[in-house]
Amino acid sequence: MTISEIIFYLFSATIIFFSILTVTSRRILRAAVYLLFVLVSTAGLYFMLNYHFLAAVQLTLYAGGIVVLIIFSILLTSHISQKFEPVGIKKQIFSAIAMAAGAILSIMVILNYGFNSLITVADNPTMNTIGYGLLNYGKNGYALPFEVISILLLAAMFASIVIAKKDKKTN
């Protein structure tokens, strides 16, 4: 067993374990922290796949941004010590059965499909490549989605402000 395998198994185990904890924990702040672990481990997987930039983005945006945002909103809306009521056992069982079935189905499909993996080069795309790709409108260029995303971000920002703003009338 190579070191990379060990690392992979470690990350995978972390991801799955903490994912489960995220969706089952009855303390919301802990759930957020477990989510953070999952996201960091995912970034680890990206590192393993030699996408360093992506891993960094994952860490900063996801782990740094979104999780912090979530934690903020948790602090705004709940008590830290608050525990959720346990979920109805029927709901849990049915959902679990359905999801297990779905997972098994998907995994069966994946295992039955012979992927034609071509591991030739495992080079890390340089920042230059990524920058050109984002701003290029030719082949392998993503200027358009990039712009669309920027507009989306703007719209989302406005939307969040408008929605979260206190309504004068209701006060």
Partner: protein
Amino acid sequence: MDFSFTVWIPLLPLILFVFLGLTSGSIRPKISGYIGTAGMTITTLMSYFVAYQYFFNRPAGSETFEKIIAFNTVWLNLTEKLQINLGVLLDPISVMMLVVITTVSLMVHIYSIGYMNGEKGYSRFFSFLSLFSFSMLGLVVATNIFQMYICWELVGVSSYLLISFYYERPTAVAAGKKAFIVTRFADLGFLIGILLLSFVSGTFDFVSLTDPQGALITQGSSLTFMGLSVMTWALVLIFMGGAGKSAMFPLHIWLPDAMEGPTPVSALIHAATMVVAGVYLVARLFPLYVFAAPDALTIVGYVGGITSLFAAVIACTQNDIKRVLAFSTMSQIGYMMLALGVSGYGDHHGLGFMASMFHLFTHAMFKALLFLAAGAIIHAVHSNFMTEMGGLRKYLPITHITFLIACLTIAGIPPFSGFFSKDEILTAAWEHDKFLFFIEYAVAGLTAFYMFRLYFNVFWGKDRHYHHTPHESPLVMTGPLMFLAAASMFTGFIPFSSLVTSDSKPFESHIEWMIAIPSILIGVIGILVAMWFYKKENGISEKMAGGLKHLYKWSYNKFYMDEVYLFVTKKIIFNNISRPAAWFDRHVVDGTMNGIASVTNRTSSGIKGFQSGQLQKYGFVFVSGVIILVFTFIYIWFN
């Protein structure tokens, strides 16, 4: 002569009905009475004019009275051959009926102005009278059997409305319902008969139906059902409708109760006009009865004979004067039916037909007179019961005289009109069926007896204790009495045999004194017995009643026919048919509907949870569905 204006004879009362009905409450009741009477006067004058033109002004050289279609319009086009028309057919009997109906109706209108004075619903009364006149006139001038059926039902409706005129009295309401249901039941037979007849003949039209040379007469006899030809069945069923309307045994039970209506209504509808509709119906289809279904005609004759005897026996014991008159009406209509039953077709063989129509005519006059006079008596005494009357001849002189004339007429004493018509019937019966003939003799005696029992009880005997001294009615009421009394006295001299005959050809008839004299004697005996019993209160009648205890009791209770009906309907039909039907309806039919409803209800409340509005449930279903779909696809794909 153009008779097309005759369409206004039925239409004018219809217009009056609509007008009076719509304006009742907005114009003074008195005014609506005058309007109704004026309209009826015009109708009457038109009818008289038509009768004069038809009978006495016919085209030169024609021996027979032609059937004239004065007006005809297609109303419903069922098939190319079968269509329902509305129109006016003039022939001797319909013209004669026009005269009868309009005369009696006019008299009743005039009389009602006085009689109904101050009653609630005065204008409603007049509008209903107009409705009735319209329907009855439409009935007699019908060109086809379907128009007749329509008017027949309209007549039934107006009869119902007028019987229950005092709708605040439960008895009146019950009587109205009874009349409606019984006649409706009979009309079911009529309708089936019409359907059978039109099925066999392919036409509704009277002219082609009753053409004695036509092919239809022989057509129906080829098809048979249970040993009788279809034509016989059709005609017997049609007669069932006629029997219901004319209160023939055993469908008579509604007529005595119908006396709950105002007395002028009894005079118009339940004595003179509507109840003879059955006779008219048979007379209208007479050639069919004679040629295609002589068996049916025999049934007609025997039903008439039995009814006349049956009703006469009951009439002898009743105490309510209107009921006595009601049973007398039944008895007299039985006479007419019997006369039709013993008649043949063509000149002297058609004596019975002529006699029946003649009797219908005279009976309308004297029976309307009797009822109107009874109304005057009731008006004066405020009671219907002859036990509460007596010695009224001093107080009501005009009513007394006219009533006496009517009694003599119905008893068949010459020279009053009843004698002539009854004699013709007796002659026809003698020539045809001896059994019916002797029944009629018996009935003649009974008729004289019960009428004079009524007469002596009311006008002679001791004075009773009255609330106030009875006084004679105003002229508006006595006028019609006098007119009808005159009619009863003199209409007997109308030469009916040269006017209204079975084949529309005049023939000679003369009084058979060998038959007439015994009949007069029987009448006189009846009168004398009644006089002996009732002129002075001497207890003989009570002794007689005691001697014939059982017969008296049976007769007094109308032979328990009402009870039989109640037993049959309540005990047998309600218990064995209606209850299970109601149970079936309530539990199976309704149960099915309720079951559908409750299953829907339960299902929807069961699946209500699906529509919880909760995203997670939707999500669960969605994801599970996708998984199942994918699984299914993959399963199919790899197999």
